[in-house]
């Protein structure tokens, strides 16, 4: 792997890590809200969150490109705030990735929160735990597996992104040139050896990550020591 490919790898990992972190921060409350929501607008929000699953990435990329351009409000605000152009920047591909990978984080979390239900959270409240305390002491430990799944899927999906980044990021080395785009470049240049190297790395990397997720989601071994007890009758000594 030469320096430019290594640089693309670092850009990819940085983008994916940052995207995953942002997704966990905004995806968790969004998933919680959706899990508790009973209004009929729930389906509308769910549909919006799920859109990137079915939409061609170029469609999302196209609209983001327009929005990020200095002629339009989001791009203008960004430029005023940071002094830099948003389109074709690292920030642009992170924002694009957040939107594009949103369902991969929100959906497993929403499902986990729905399955967990209110009963244990209510029990926590009656023991004097406030909402933040309840989230960290009850919800998070009991939905840990789903958080791992959500973070891994969000990360893996971001690493594998191509269309959105090509539309809004272009191909700037060290800024927006990620692995999938570097791979495309090598193929365009008929450099199949380097293309192979990147392709097989992405394939194995994704494979390992997914296998790790499924392994983590296996039923965990009993953590506490099992002692012989009479399950049906309580301790016989109490009779």
């Amino acid at each position: 792997m030469n320096t430019s490919d290594f640089q693309a790898l670092m850009t990819t990992l940085e983008m994916a890590a940052l995207t995953t972190a942002i997704l966990l921060v905004i995806g968790t409350p969004l998933a919680w809200y959706l899990a508790k929501m009973t209004s009929r607008f729930k389906v509308v929000i769910e549909a919006i969150v799920a859109l990137p699953l079915v939409l061609p990435p170029t469609v999302l990329g196209f609209y983001l490109l327009i929005a990020f351009s200095p002629e339009h409000l989001p791009g203008q605000l960004w430029q005023q705030a940071t002094g830099k152009q948003l389109a074709f920047s690292f920030s642009a591909i992170v924002i694009g990735s957040v939107l594009y990978s949103l369902p991969f984080v929100v959906q497993p979390l929403q499902k986990a929160f729905e399955q967990l239900g209110d009963s244990l959270v209510e029990a926590g409240a009656l023991l004097g735990a406030g909402p933040i305390d309840r989230f960290f002491s009850i919800v998070l430990p009991l939905t840990k597996a789903s958080f791992i799944t959500a973070a891994s899927l969000g990360f893996a999906h971001t690493v594998g992104e191509f269309g959105v980044i090509l539309m809004i990021g272009g191909n700037i080395p060290g800024e927006t040139r990620v692995l999938s785009i570097a791979l495309f470049d090598h193929v365009e240049a008929f450099d199949y050896a380097r293309a192979h190297l990147l392709a097989i790395s992405l394939l194995i990397g994704s494979m390992v990550l997914l296998a790790a997720i499924y392994w983590l989601n296996l039923p965990r071994k009993k953590r506490l020591k099992r002692l012989p007890i009479d399950i049906e009758q309580g301790e016989p000594s109490n009779d």
Binding site: S119, A125, A129, Q233, G234
Partner: protein, 386 residues
């Protein structure tokens, strides 16, 4: 229960304010599409207060409202402690709503709701850590709930009865001012039920912790409750001393709730080891005898009941009978049922309920105000000790 059964509160326990004891003032409405709960009641918080009703009578909704889990309620709930300091839990007119975590009201649910990621000890510690100015001794509560041998266990390894004991201990360790119990025994076997009932009584007395105990089993409530609140279709049907409320059920024509009976709490006068009989004081002049049980030794009062069908009537004192209990009383009421007659016979201040056949009633030509002898075997006086 139909609406014609609705009676006003009988002999409501003396108002809490006079007696200087804790009180829960409830004036709330909870509206659902198919169901409305409307309660306007002051509950004196002494001992264990039972809440009885069929499913969909509003018992659980009432507990959830007190605990702060019922968001769609209108009205107010105020908790006054025995120092007469009032603590408003909710007052929707003033836009005041105390969150459940600030109410200091504990709740033991039907399905214990233990935290699966924590051990038994972890569950107890969860409550202790969040309790401000904790006064209780953790070890004492562990001992009272007999959890010492289970502390290291995962909660999903426990039996239903063990889980409910953890839930009870956990709720107590949060040191609530009022403990609510929502059908805590309904999923348990008979042995665990009586074990947990005894524990509830011991804990109530030891910690002087008022409890509201919801159940659809009148027999369970009869064992531990001092007062009983009866709900039907979201409304208060009856509230008062538990024995009087149970006697009120006898008077309903269509009583499918409980067998006709006389329900009593009486002081123990003597336990005669020689005859195997225990004597209870009914009034200055009259005693009741029942078969002794070793458990009586630790008690001063005994809860018992006598089924109306276990008592017979005699016009003369049956002095040559093996039946040990014969009490002179006066017929207060005669109520005709299909082929039987329910008599209310007053002995001193205590009403007894007696079912006899219509044939016997005619043969003895019984009438109101007539003095009669009640007779029943020692074995007919049933207690709740298993």
């Amino acid at each position: 229960m139909t609406n014609k059964h609705v009676v006003n509160a009988i002999d409501a326990p003396e108002t809490a304010k006079q007696a200087n004891i804790a009180e829960l003032d409830i004036n709330i409405k909870v509206n659902y599409q198919q169901f409305t709960l409307a309660i306007d009641l002051s509950i004196p918080l002494t001992g264990i207060t039972g809440i009885f009703g069929h499913s969909a009578s509003g018992k659980s909704t009432l507990l959830r409202a007190i605990a702060g889990l019922e968001k769609s309620l209108l009205g107010s709930i105020t908790l006054t402690n025995n120092a007469l300091a009032s603590n408003t839990l909710v007052n929707t007119e003033q836009g005041y709503y105390l969150k459940p975590e600030h109410r200091q009201v504990g709740l033991v649910f039907q399905n214990s709701r233990l935290f699966g990621h924590l051990s038994v000890f972890g569950n107890l510690e969860y409550a202790v850590k969040r309790c401000k100015n904790s006064q209780l001794n953790l070890n004492e509560i562990i001992e009272l709930t007999e959890l010492s041998n289970l502390l290291a266990h995962r909660v999903d390894e426990l039996s239903g009865g063990q889980q409910q004991r953890v839930a009870l201990a956990r709720a107590i360790l949060a040191e609530p001012k009022l403990l609510l119990l929502d059908e805590p025994l309904s999923a348990l076997d008979q042995h665990s039920k009586s074990q947990l009932l005894k524990m509830m009584l011991t804990i109530q007395k030891r910690l002087n912790l008022p409890m509201l105990y919801v159940s659809h089993s009148l027999a369970e409530l009869q064992q531990v409750c001092d007062n009983l609140l009866v709900l039907a279709k979201g409304k208060v049907v009856n509230f008062g001393n538990i024995h009087q409320v149970i006697h009120q059920f006898n008077r309903y024509k269509e009583n499918d709730i409980i067998e006709h009976q006389t329900s009593l709490s009486l002081p123990i006068k003597a336990i005669n080891a020689h005859h195997g009989l225990t004597t209870l004081v009914l009034n200055d002049k009259q005693d009741i005898y029942l078969a002794s049980d070793e458990d009586f030794q630790q008690q001063t009062y005994l809860r018992c009941f006598i089924l109306a069908s276990d008592i017979s009537i005699s016009l003369t004192e049956p002095s040559n009978s093996s039946i040990v209990n014969h009490l002179l009383g006066t017929i207060n009421a005669i109520s005709h049922r299909d082929n039987s007659v329910l008599l209310t016979v007053q002995c001193g201040t205590q009403d007894f309920f007696v079912t006899i056949s219509a044939f016997s009633q005619q043969r003895l030509s019984l009438s109101i105000k007539q003095p009669v002898y009640l007779q029943f075997k020692a074995g007919a006086v049933r207690t709740f000790i298993h």
